[in-house]
C-alpha cells in the first residue's frame, strides 16, 4: 500500500488492529493448549470434525462388539464346562452299563448299578439345566428358568442365541438342548431311564441297547462341545481383533482431535513474542509528536 499521508489516527487505529490480532492469535493457541483439543467446534475444521464424529461412531460400535464378544465368551465358557461334565457322567454310565452287561452280575449288584445310573441321570438333568446369568444355557430363548422339566422333557424355546461380535458377524453362543440330549420322547433321559430299569430287571438285551444308545449320546455331546469350541474361537478372535481396532481408532481420534503440544507451545512462544513486540512498538510510535520538539 502506498502511503501518501500518514495521520496519528491511522497509526493508532492500525496499532489497535494489530494488537487485537496478536491477542486473538494468543487466545486461540492458548485455547488449544488449555483444552488439549485442536478441534473445539465444527468450524475449526469441518472435515476433521466429520472425521472425528465418524471415528467416534466406529469407536462406540467396536467397544460394543467387544462387550458383546466378552458376554458371549462367558456364556460359551459355562456351556463348554457343562458339556465336559456331562461327557464325564456319560462315560461313567457307559462303564456301569458294561458292568451290568456282564453275565455274572446279578441281584444286589445290579440294583446298585441301577441306582447309580438313576443318580447320574439326576445329575445330568441338573447339568442340562445349568444357568448363566439366570438363563438356562440349553434353553434357547426361553423366558423360564429351566431347559428340561423334572421328567427330562425339553421345555425350552429352541431358537439361536447370538452375539454380534463385529459388523454383520454374529456368533451363536448357545447349543440347542435337543441337539445335546435328543428330541423329546427319545432323549438322553429316556435312554437312561430305560437303562436303569433294564439293569434293575437284569434284561441283558435292554442293557446292550442302552450301551449303544449311551455311546450315541456321548457322540452328540462331544459334537456339541466341538461346535461350542469353534464358536468360542470365533468370538475370542473377534474380541481380540476388536481390542486391537480400539487402540488404532483411539490413536486415530487423538491424531484428529488432540493438540500437538510441542507445536502449540512453540506457536504460543512465537505469538507471545510478536505480541510483546507489537506492544513495545506501539508504545514508542504513539508518543512522539512535533510538539515535543518545539519551544
Amino acid at each position: 500500500m502506498v502511503m501518501i499521508r500518514v495521520t496519528q489516527n491511522m497509526v493508532t487505529g492500525r496499532s489497535l488492529t494489530s494488537l487485537q490480532a496478536g491477542l486473538d492469535r494468543l487466545a486461540q493457541t492458548q485455547e488449544k493448549l488449555s483444552t488439549g483439543k485442536n478441534l473445539n467446534r465444527p468450524s475449526d475444521s469441518p472435515t476433521d470434525a466429520t472425521t472425528s464424529m465418524k471415528i467416534r461412531v466406529q469407536l462406540a460400535e467396536t467397544q460394543q462388539h467387544v462387550r458383546n464378544a466378552q458376554n458371549g465368551l462367558g456364556w460359551l465358557d459355562v456351556t463348554d464346562s457343562t458339556l465336559s461334565g456331562m461327557a464325564d457322567n456319560l462315560r461313567r454310565v457307559s462303564e456301569l452299563a458294561l458292568q451290568g452287561a456282564n453275565a455274572s452280575i446279578t441281584g444286589s449288584t445290579s440294583t446298585a448299578l441301577a441306582t447309580e445310573v438313576a443318580q447320574i441321570r439326576e445329575g445330568l438333568l441338573a447339568q442340562a439345566n445349568t444357568t448363566y446369568l439366570d438363563r438356562p444355557i440349553f434353553g434357547g430363548v426361553t423366558a423360564g428358568t429351566q431347559a428340561f422339566d423334572a421328567s427330562g422333557a425339553y421345555v425350552g424355546a429352541d431358537a439361536p442365541v447370538q452375539r454380534s461380535v463385529a459388523d454383520g458377524v454374529k456368533v451363536r453362543i448357545d447349543v440347542s438342548g435337543t441337539t445335546v440330549v435328543g428330541p423329546n420322547g427319545d432323549n438322553l433321559f429316556d435312554d437312561l431311564a430305560a437303562l436303569e430299569s433294564a439293569l434293575r430287571l437284569g434284561d441283558k438285551a435292554g442293557i446292550q441297547a442302552g450301551i449303544a444308545a449311551v455311546t450315541e449320546r456321548q457322540r452328540a455331546v462331544s459334537d456339541a462341545q466341538a461346535a461350542v469350541g469353534a464358536s468360542y474361537n470365533r468370538a475370542d478372535a473377534a474380541e481380540r481383533k476388536g481390542q486391537d481396532a480400539l487402540v488404532t481408532l483411539r490413536s486415530a481420534l487423538s491424531e484428529v482431535e488432540d493438540t500437538d503440544l510441542p507445536k502449540a507451545m512453540v506457536d504460543l512462544q512465537m505469538h507471545e513474542v510478536a505480541y510483546q513486540a507489537a506492544l513495545a512498538s506501539t508504545a514508542r510510535v504513539m508518543q512522539p509528536s512535533l510538539v515535543d520538539f518545539l519551544r
Binding site: M1, M3, I4, R5, V6, T7, Q8, N9, M10, G13, R14, T17, L39, R41, P42, S43, D44, S45, P46, T47, A49, T50, S52, M53, K54, R56, V57, A60, E61, Q63, Q64, R67, N68, N71, G72, L133, D134, R135, G140, V141, T142, A143, A157, A159, V161, Q162, R163, S164, K170, E257, S289, L290, V291, L294
Partner: protein
C-alpha cells in the same frame, strides 16, 4: 501610483489571513479524534490587479495582499461511497458470523456431550439389551439412553429457536434505530440546504451527514447519493428511505409480530413515506439484512436438518420396533412419539420397560435379536454428521469472509484517513507558519508606522 497607506492594508490582510489559518489549524487539532471529522484546509489567494481592468486604466500597484478564498473540507465523494459499501458488507458479515458462532457453541460437537455421543450410547444400550433381553437393568438403560438422546436433540432445537428469538429482537431494535438515524439525516439535510442558501460554512453539517449516512449503510446497506445542494438521499433496496428533508420509516412487513414473535411467514420489509407504503423486493443488506437472512434461510435450514435427523431416527426405530415383540409377547408399540411439526423438540419415549420389543419371536421369549437389529438400523448418524459438517463449513466460511472483508474495509478506511485525517505534525507546522507570517506582517506594520512617522513628523521641520 498606489496610495501611501496601502502597505498598511496589505499587512492588515496578512494579519487577518493568518489568524484564519491559525483558527483552522486549531479546529483541526481540536477534532483530531472526532468521529467522522474531515480536516479543513485554508486556501489563500493573493490580491493584485483587478482581473477585468477598466478600459484605458493602468494598475500600478505592487499587489494588494492576501485573502482567504475558501476553507476546503478535504473529502472525496467516491471514496466516501466506497467506505459506505464496504462497511455495509462488513456489518452484514459480522452480525452473521457472531450469531452463527454463538449457535455453534451450543452444538457441542465433536465431543462426549453432544447428540452424536447420545446417539452412540443409545445404540450401545440396544445391543446390551440384545445380550440380556430379560434384564430389567438393560431395559431401563435403553429407556434412559433414549430419553437422554431425545433431550440432547431437543436442547439443540431449543438452541436454534433461542437464536431465532434473539435475531427477531435484534431485528426490531435495529429497525427502530434505522428510523431514528433516518430522521436525524433528514433534519441534517434540511439544515444543510438552509445554511447553503444563507452562505454559511456547512462543513460541520457535512461531517454529521456523512456519519449518519455511514450508519444507515451499516444498518441497512442503504446507498447514499449526494445531491447538488449538499444533501444526501439514501435508498434501501432501490426505495428512497431519506429524500432531502423527508425521512421514510423502515418497518418489518411480515415475519415478526410487534411483540417479537414469529408469524409463520418469511421476514420482509416495507418503507412508509407519508401515506405511501412500498414493499421491498430486493435484498436488504447491512445488519437488518443479516438478521433477515438468518431468520429466513440459515436458522430454519439447520432446524429442518435437525428435525429430519430426529424424524429419521424415530421412524427407523419405530419401524424396527414394530417388527419385534415385547416381554409379554405383544407386537412392539411405537417406541418414540413426536409432533410432526417439531420432531426434534418434541421427541419422547412412548413405551415402558416391559414394552421394549427386543425379541423377533412372539410368545414372550427372551430373544434379543430385534434389539440387535434396532441397535444398527438406519443411518441417522450419517445425516447428523452431514448436518454438523454443513453448519461447520458455513460458520467457517462466514468467519473467513469477515476476515477478508475486515482487511478490505481497513484498507478503504485508511485510504480515506489519508485524505481526510488530521496529522498533528502538519497542523503544528501550519500553525508555526501562520505564526511567523503573522509576526512578519506585524513587523511590516511597525516599519510602515515608523516610515510614516518620519514622513509626517520630521519632514520640513527646521
Amino acid at each position: 501610483m498606489s496610495g501611501t497607506l496601502s502597505s498598511l492594508n496589505t499587512a492588515l490582510s496578512a494579519l487577518r489571513y493568518n489568524r484564519v489559518a491559525m483558527d483552522v489549524a486549531s479546529h483541526n487539532i481540536a477534532n483530531v479524534a472526532t468521529e467522522g471529522y474531515n480536516r479543513r484546509r485554508v486556501d489563500g489567494e493573493s490580491m493584485g490587479a483587478p482581473t477585468v481592468p477598466a478600459r484605458w486604466s493602468t494598475y500600478e500597484g505592487a499587489g494588494g495582499g492576501v485573502r482567504t478564498s475558501a476553507i476546503v473540507r478535504m473529502n472525496d465523494v467516491l471514496l466516501d461511497n466506497r467506505v459506505r459499501t464496504e462497511h455495509s458488507s462488513l456489518s452484514y458479515l459480522q452480525l452473521r458470523a457472531t450469531a452463527l458462532a454463538r449457535m455453534e457453541s451450543g452444538v457441542g460437537e465433536p465431543g462426549d456431550a453432544g447428540v452424536a455421543a447420545a446417539m452412540a450410547d443409545f445404540r450401545s444400550s440396544w445391543q446390551d439389551l440384545g445380550n440380556d433381553p430379560g434384564g430389567n437393568a438393560a431395559r431401563g438403560q435403553v429407556l434412559a439412553r433414549a430419553e437422554s438422546l431425545a433431550g440432547a436433540l431437543s436442547a439443540q432445537a431449543a438452541n436454534v429457536s433461542a437464536e431465532m428469538t434473539t435475531q427477531r429482537l435484534t431485528l426490531q431494535g435495529t429497525v427502530s434505530e434505522v428510523g431514528t438515524v433516518a430522521k436525524e439525516l433528514a433534519a441534517t439535510n434540511r439544515a444543510i440546504s438552509t445554511a447553503a442558501l444563507d452562505g454559511v460554512d456547512v462543513s460541520d453539517l457535512a461531517d454529521q451527514r456523512d456519519v449518519l449516512g455511514l450508519r444507515l449503510a451499516e444498518l441497512t446497506g442503504g446507498v447514499g447519493l449526494l445531491q447538488p445542494d449538499g444533501t444526501m438521499n439514501v435508498s434501501v433496496a432501490g426505495v428512497d428511505l431519506v429524500a432531502g428533508s423527508t425521512a421514510g420509516t423502515l418497518r418489518v412487513a411480515t415475519g415478526v409480530t410487534a411483540s417479537g414473535a414469529p408469524d409463520g411467514q418469511p421476514v420482509t420489509f416495507a418503507i412508509d413515506t407519508g401515506a405511501t407504503s412500498t414493499t421491498l423486493t430486493a435484498d436488504v443488506r447491512g445488519e437488518v439484512g443479516a438478521s433477515a437472512d438468518l431468520l429466513n434461510t440459515t436458522l430454519p435450514a439447520y432446524a429442518a436438518g435437525l428435525a429430519a435427523v430426529a424424524r429419521d431416527l424415530a421412524d427407523t426405530v419405530n419401524a424396527a420396533h414394530a417388527a419385534g415383540y415385547d416381554l409379554d409377547g405383544n407386537t412392539g408399540a411405537a417406541f418414540f412419539s413426536y409432533d410432526p411439526i417439531d420432531p426434534a423438540g418434541t421427541l419422547t419415549v412412548a413405551v415402558t420397560a416391559r414394552q421394549v420389543a427386543a425379541s423377533t419371536l412372539p410368545g414372550g421369549v427372551l430373544d434379543g435379536s430385534n434389539a440387535d437389529v434396532i441397535g444398527t438400523a438406519g443411518t441417522p448418524e450419517a445425516s447428523y454428521q452431514r448436518l454438523v459438517n454443513g453448519f461447520g463449513t458455513e460458520v467457517a466460511s462466514a468467519q473467513r469472509l469477515v476476515r477478508t472483508q475486515s482487511l478490505l474495509t481497513t484498507q478503504v478506511d485508511s485510504a480515506r484517513e489519508q485524505l481526510s485525517g488530521v496529522n498533528l505534525d502538519e497542523e503544528t507546522v501550519a500553525m508555526l507558519t501562520a505564526q511567523r507570517a503573522y509576526e512578519a506582517a506585524a513587523r511590516v506594520m511597525s516599519v510602515m508606522d515608523s516610515v510614516l512617522d518620519t514622513l509626517i513628523n520630521r519632514t520640513g521641520i527646521g
